[in-house]
């Protein structure tokens, strides 16, 4: 495993798109959270109907709520690291380096594990960027963090699980299509707007069956922050869903990677 990790790091560390992605995410996470804080939250405080309710709730950009708030907002930007995942795997097919890896002595299983390592590295990096963003925003807004700093930090793990799951689906699409632009087109078109529309249609016509769509399964790991939901009961229902969606997400991850390993073991390279 350490040999696979070392090899993948040799490939990643000089891949320009990886560092571009890191830079963009490093700017996008705090930028988007700041924009929502300034324009979404603070503006709502002045809203005649929602304002009085929000003032009774804790500030979502302070500890412990900041973990959930920043995780939810940052999860909109999963398509940025998904571009790198797709580029990275389709590059292997475009330049036939996937073949060379096998010729040089990897098994097909090794190759797939190495791709899982790539997805894990990128997910971990995005999670670290989310963690730092939440930490800075929370620290700068909270007055006293000694008692409830880590409360709610389970969202760090859930954020990693969500991004790992969704990037795994991006990798599966790339593995199936082997073409960067086709894979990017399919993933981004499905990420937005196709699945959100299907989820809304599911809510309206199919008893919320959209919760089992591939991205929505892990989207529901991190419920909307309280200030984004009008009714308390609706918000509690969303939070209650989160636990069972951990199980669903793990099952989906198993299925996604099972398909990846199976395809890679069977087809010609």
């Amino acid at each position: 495993m350490s040999s696979l990790l070392k090899t993948e790091w040799l490939k990643i560390k000089k891949y320009p798109a990886f560092w571009w992605m890191t830079g963009i995410v490093a700017l996008a996470y705090p930028g988007m959270n700041y924009a929502i804080y300034e324009n979404g939250y603070k503006d709502t405080l002045n809203d005649k109907t929602m304002g009085p309710i929000l003032r009774m709730l804790p500030n979502p950009f302070t500890f412990p709520d900041v973990w959930q708030t920043v995780a939810f907002i940052s999860s909109f930007f999963i398509f940025i690291p998904s571009i790198v995942v797709i580029m990275f795997i389709t590059n292997e097919y475009t330049f036939k380096t996937h073949r060379q890896n096998i010729i040089d002595g990897w098994s097909r299983k090794n190759f797939m594990i190495s791709k899982m390592i790539d997805v894990a590295i990128i997910s971990l990096l995005a999670t670290v960027l989310y963690f730092v963003t939440a930490l800075i925003i929370g620290s700068s807004n909270s007055t006293n963090t000694s008692g409830n700093f880590w409360e709610g930090s389970q969202y760090v793990g859930l954020f990693f699980l969500q991004i790992f799951s969704q990037l795994s689906i991006a990798l599966l699409i790339a593995l199936l299509t082997r073409r960067a632009f086709i894979a990017l087109g399919i993933f981004i078109f499905y990420f937005f707007p196709s699945e959100p529309i299907l989820v809304q249609l599911g809510k309206r016509f199919a008893n919320d069956a959209g919760e089992f769509l591939p991205l929505e399964i892990s989207d529901r790991l991190i419920p909307r922050p309280r200030f984004m939901v009008r009714h308390e009961a609706d918000w509690k229902a969303l939070v209650a869903q989160s636990d069972i969606h951990i199980v669903y997400t793990i099952l989906l991850l198993g299925l996604t990677w099972g398909i990846c390993f199976w395809i890679n073991s069977k087809r010609d390279l």
Binding site: F95, Q100, G105, D268
Partner: protein, 298 residues
């Protein structure tokens, strides 16, 4: 002498197209084994199967007497079809990836093989900035990394200039002398003829002949003789063969005999007894090119 590679009844279909049909042969240890065939004959498909890039529909292969495995591939230096490298990495970084996967060679070995293929000066340039010939040289360097005892080279001289081709030929000859086994697919018959000890000739997926290169090339003895009077010489040789002809370009008479039956001393004596003094007598090996066309066009 054991076999490095045994191919047994390999068949491969691409949809309805049969790319290989029951292909079998053995590669002796220490040989330079040429796999020849026109475009589309299945050379690269065959090498892809023995390197586990493609799956055969039938048949099997053994490396060193054992079924193919990643551990065995690590010990084999391979160049398959095209140079496959990370376009954003330099030559050194690409070879580090090769080294990390295969476990072959050291950091110093990377510099050595780059010097050997004359890429050392450009070792820090990105792969995408290389010319086709330089890319090919890097692929050869990767296959040489760690001095593997077996090399699989698919069209190794692709994209190289005449000097580069000569260098690769010398390299292969040198590797053979030091006991390496080289399996080489090529359509450059001149190259194969110069370096190979054994060949297998493929035609539309079938092995039409395989064996020692001299045996494959020489299906008959061709003797070239010359004297002052070519007509008299041709007449004198008629009793030996029904295939006697005068070549007015080279001013020689050529006669063909069944393989292994030509006895030059007897021909010389026969002519002398008939009062003809020879000024030229040569047993010719048939050129691979001619033999190849005979086999693949039949």
């Amino acid at each position: 002498m054991g076999s490095v590679l045994t191919v047994d009844g390999i068949t491969k279909f691409y949809g309805r197209i049969r790319a290989l049909n029951n292909v079998s042969f053995e590669v002796p240890q220490g040989s330079v084994f040429g796999i020849l065939g026109p475009n589309g004959s299945g050379k690269t498909t065959l090498l892809s199967i023995v390197l586990d890039v493609l799956k055969s529909n039938n048949g099997n292969f053994l490396w060193f007497g054992h079924p193919g495995s990643p551990e065995q591939r690590k010990k084999i230096g391979s160049l398959l079809e095209t140079p496959n490298f990370y376009h954003y990495l330099s030559a050194v970084d690409n070879l580090k990836v090769t080294q990390s996967i295969s476990g072959r060679g050291t950091r110093e070995d990377i510099d050595q093989v780059l010097k050997k293929v004359k890429l050392y000066e450009r070792r820090k340039s990105r792969f995408k900035t290389y010319s086709l010939g330089m890319k090919q040289r890097l692929a050869i360097a990767a296959s040489l990394l760690g001095d593997p005892k077996v090399l699989v080279l698919d069209e190794p001289t692709n994209g190289l200039d005449p000097v580069g081709i000569a260098e690769i030929r010398e390299l292969i000859v040198g590797l053979k002398k030091s006991g390496h086994t080289i399996i080489m697919a090529s359509h450059l018959l001149d190259e194969v003829e110069k370096v190979c000890t054994h060949v297998a000739i493929l035609k539309t997926g079938d092995v039409i002949t395989t064996g020692d290169v001299n045996e494959v090339l020489q299906d008959e003895d061709v003797i070239e003789v010359s004297a002052a009077d070519l007509s008299a010489l041709a007449h004198a040789l008629q009793p030996l063969s029904d295939q006697v002809s005068i070549n007015n370009v080279s001013n020689t008479v050529q006669l063909s005999l069944p393989k292994g039956t030509a006895k030059l001393d007897q021909i010389n004596k026969l002519c002398f007894d008939k009062g003809i003094v020879l000024n030229h007598l040569l047993l010719k090996k048939k050129r691979l090119e001619a033999r190849f066309f005979e086999l693949t066009n039949s």
